[in-house]
């Protein structure tokens, strides 16, 4: 009996759910998940053995890593979120999705974005900002499709037949709004050409915006939507109400409020002002409470049904996912504490932490959701629970191998970097010593990753066989009373629509306002320079700009940082600690977040041109044991001088003080500087033709990094 409905008055309506769109997103999830994991395993092996880079520019680590992260986050997790949201949203609101066409545009638009990522990133078309590498035309496409999603989502809310909005939907709402804000603000850039742009921000500002975005991408793309899914699918699978609805309210509001502040913990000990660092640290530690509130609420929902967890694949995966969520949200605040961060930052501990979350939480929860959805969407039973169990243990072993090897690698590296003997000298002055030491751990990680990939393939097989054994069938009809708003409801369709518009308008105008505000306010705010400028720090020369673009294109920042922290061992190893004023012309900043290789903030002038020449040809010629790939194409590809004037113009628009003559004579200046480097190289025995090749601007840039302040007598 529908006791609730029987007490209701008003119009009884009949409707059905759009499950076809959910099926499409489910299929896309498994396909992109396999791609993302395959890429992950590939780059893991590349770090274990550089030969796996295959000697091709399109398959080199620096270009594949952004493809891996984008595929994992936006392709795999993105499609999983959309599948789960579209399924649960309709049922929680007793309403069909707002518009079937919008759903289809959403689906195909998102897949097109993913394909365009795969067609640009391996070719070095990148903004050089982590997790936001996609260039401006794709950024615009993402914004459009996200608005389509938002309209479809909020439109469904307006047409709902259930007054109360369940906790899962609050998490979805926070996701949609915040991701829009983050994406737009971080992606503000000025185009140079269809495939190239420069970030609106420079140096410290760019770093702050980037990590405000980066951290909240984790928060609002990998956490809140999945928590929403957890709040729907865990109770449904357990057939028990959520442990505490009251706790879910506290959990939600405290999580969304606190998360947004935590970004600066990615920039501890950098030139970001101390107070901003402390703010980030405090909020990060505070995040522990709401995070664990969510985990506890999820796990305790399973009270009394633990016997089901043993047998039901859905609950099994969800219980483990929640456990990993608890673990990584404990580790996160811990890593945000400055003293812990000084050890862990730039080491392999961080990728270990990230993967505890992405594999342990996102993949496993998605597996649970898929095992829930596929049998229902195809009207059948799970093909093999035994296979699901095999998958469960394969994945678990894989994750543990991954995390543990990265803990060991990270702490080993860090201790070697900071070891100082009694005479005040570095115990391991050659960075390569710390690399060689942890290569065995890279093998363990790659094997762990392979386990995870295998587990995923088992799931695909299991889900395929499940779907094959069932059928899509006809759409079921449901009935529910329309929400009665007294008079407005009486067949007044236009009124109903009018009632709906304010909310859609609210969302659209919020996005519109933020675009407008960002574009108008940011440049104005930026024109005032708060950073005390240093006269010694000069803009890059035209040739160095070309070199810097090659540095960005090859993804050097993914393995090399460009910021020296004010710590004794770093100053001993690299040179003077970095200053904020050094980065004012860096659009985008290139501080990086990982030191697979040494920091490059003071590399300028450290070696002769010939050293760099040989190093880029084959790193092992000058650094035995190096795991860096060869960059042989830099010796055959010609320098793109033609793009220079436009690039300089954009830089000038961004506030870099280039004069009109600088721009007009940029090509001639670049060629003159290239000639100097060529003369130097030819004296060292290099063939004459080198002048036209990309290696020259790259050397020019490398020789410039950190020189202005690093080699000056200026003190902070």
């Amino acid at each position: 009996m529908n006791a609730h409905a029987s007490t209701r008055t008003g119009k009884l309506e009949y409707f059905s759910y759009d499950d076809q769109i959910v099926r499409l997103f489910v299929i896309a999830t498994v396909i992109w998940g396999a791609v993302a994991l395959l890429l992950g395993v590939t780059i893991a092996f590349q770090l274990a053995d550089w030969h796996v880079n295959l000697g091709l520019q399109w398959t080199t680590f620096g270009r594949l890593r952004p493809l891996h992260t984008n595929a994992a986050i936006f392709a795999f997790c993105g499609n999983a979120i959309f599948a789960g949201i579209y399924y649960s949203h309709q049922r929680l609101l007793k309403a069909r999705l707002f518009n079937d066409t919008l759903s289809k545009i959403h689906f195909w638009g998102w897949q097109l974005i993913i394909v365009s990522a795969a067609l640009t990133l391996p070719f070095g078309i990148t903004t050089g900002k982590e997790y936001a590498e996609l260039e401006w035309p794709i950024d615009i496409a993402i914004t459009v499709i996200w608005v389509v999603f938002a309209v479809n989502f909020f439109g469904t809310i307006i047409r709902r037949r259930e007054r109360h909005i369940y906790v899962a939907i609050w998490f979805y709402i926070a996701t949609i709004i915040t991701v829009a804000v983050l994406h737009i603000i971080n992606s503000l850039e000025i185009p140079v050409s269809i495939g190239k742009s420069y970030s609106l921000y420079a140096g410290v500002q760019d770093a702050l915006v980037q990590w405000w975005y980066g951290h909240n991408a984790v928060a609002f793309f990998l956490t809140t939507p999945f928590l929403g899914l957890m709040y729907y699918f865990v109770p449904k699978a357990a057939n028990r109400p959520v442990y505490s609805y009251r706790l879910s309210i506290i959990h939600f509001w405290s999580l969304v409020f606190i998360y947004i502040w935590a970004g600066p913990h990615h920039l501890l000990y950098t030139t970001l002002p101390e107070w901003a660092q402390t703010l980030g640290m405090v909020f990060s530690v505070a995040l522990w409470a709401p995070s664990w509130g969510g985990m506890i609420n999820g796990l305790l929902t399973l009270r009394g049904v633990w016997d089901k967890v043993r047998t039901d694949p859905v609950l099994k995966f969800m219980a483990l996912a929640l456990t990993f969520y608890g673990m990584s949200t404990f580790e996160g605040p811990l890593l945000s504490i400055k003293s812990v961060n000084s050890i862990a930052h730039f080491t392999d501990w961080i990728p270990g932490h990230v993967h505890a979350g992405t594999i342990g939480w996102n993949y496993l929860l998605t597996a649970g959701v898929l095992y829930f959805l596929v049998p229902r969407l195809w009207n059948t039973q799970i093909y093999s629970k035994a296979l699901a169990t095999v998958q469960f243990w394969t994945a678990t072993i894989g994750i543990i191998l991954y995390i543990v090897s990265m803990w060991i690698a990270g702490i080993s590296q860090s201790l070697m970097w900071r070891a100082i003997d009694a005479s005040g000298k570095l115990v391991y002055p050659n960075f390569i010593e710390s690399v060689v030491k942890i290569v065995p751990m890279y093998w363990v990680r790659a094997i762990g990753g392979t386990f995870v990939l295998v587990s995923f393939i088992i799931m695909i097989y299991n889900l395929y066989k499940t779907a094959k054994s069932g059928n899509v069938g006809k759409e079921e009809v449901y009935e529910a009373y329309a929400l009665d708003e007294s008079s407005i409801e009486h067949g007044a369709q236009p009124h109903r629509k009018l009632e709906g518009w304010p909310m859609i308008f609210a969302v659209l105008s919020l996005i519109a306002i933020l675009v407008g505000t960002a574009i108008e306010i940011v440049p104005a705010v930026m024109s005032k320079q708060y950073i005390t400028k240093m006269d010694v720090v000069k803009p890059y020369t035209p040739l160095e700009i070309l070199g810097r673009d090659i540095y960005i294109r090859e993804g050097c920042y993914l393995c090399h940082s460009q910021t020296v922290r004010p710590m004794t061992h770093e100053v001993l190893r690299y040179g003077k600690a970095s200053e904020a004023a050094e980065f004012v012309y860096d659009h985008p900043f290139q501080w990086g977040s990982k030191r697979t290789g040494p920091d490059l903030a003071r590399v300028g002038g450290k070696y002769p041109h010939m050293w760099h020449y040989r190093h880029m040809w084959d790193p092992r010629e000058v650094t035995p044991g190096s795991i860096m790939p060869r960059y042989t194409w830099l010796f055959t590809q010609k320098i793109d001088y033609g793009s220079l004037p436009k690039k300089m113009q954009v830089m000038q628009t961004l506030g870099v003080p280039y004069s009109k003559e600088d721009i007009d004579s940029s090509v001639a200046n670049a060629q003159a500087q290239a000639e100097e480097i060529r003369t130097n190289l030819v004296e060292a025995g290099v063939p004459q033709e080198v002048i036209n090749k990309e290696i020259v601007p790259l050397i020019a840039y490398l020789q410039r990094i950190g020189v202005d302040y690093g080699k000056s007598e200026v003190t902070p």
């Binding site: 009996m1 529908n2 609730h4 409905a5 009949y14 049922r91 929680l92 007793k94 259930e162 007054r163 109360h164 909005i165 369940y166 906790v167 899962a168 609050w170 709402i173 926070a174 709004i177 915040t178 804000v181 603000i185 921000y201 410290v204 500002q205 702050l208 915006v209 405000w212 729907y232 109770p235 449904k236 057939n239 028990r240 109400p241 959520v242 609805y245 009251r246 309210i249 509001w253 969304v256 409020f257 947004i260 502040w261 970001l272 002002p273 901003a276 079921e476 009809v477 449901y478 009935e479 529910a480 306010i521 940011v522 705010v525 930026m526 005032k528 320079q529 708060y530 950073i531 904020a580």
Partner: protein, 59 residues
């Protein structure tokens, strides 16, 4: 660094937005009942219409 002048107000606006949502939702009665919503979401199959021809099969 001046971007902080923009980001902090933005963080506050986002925060205020969520607090505003909270107050609005509370006033709308979303939190009046902290027991049944958890149970109700489990019952979303109960309004399935069994007999499509008559549209009357209430479970």
């Amino acid at each position: 660094m001046e971007i902080i002048v923009f980001l902090i107000p933005l963080a506050l606006i986002l925060g205020a937005f969520f607090v505003g949502c909270f107050i609005w939702m509370t006033k709308k009665g979303q939190y009046d009942d902290l027991e049944t919503p958890g149970h109700r979401m489990l019952l979303d199959e109960h309004n399935k219409v069994i007999n499509n021809n008559t549209h009357k099969g209430e479970l």
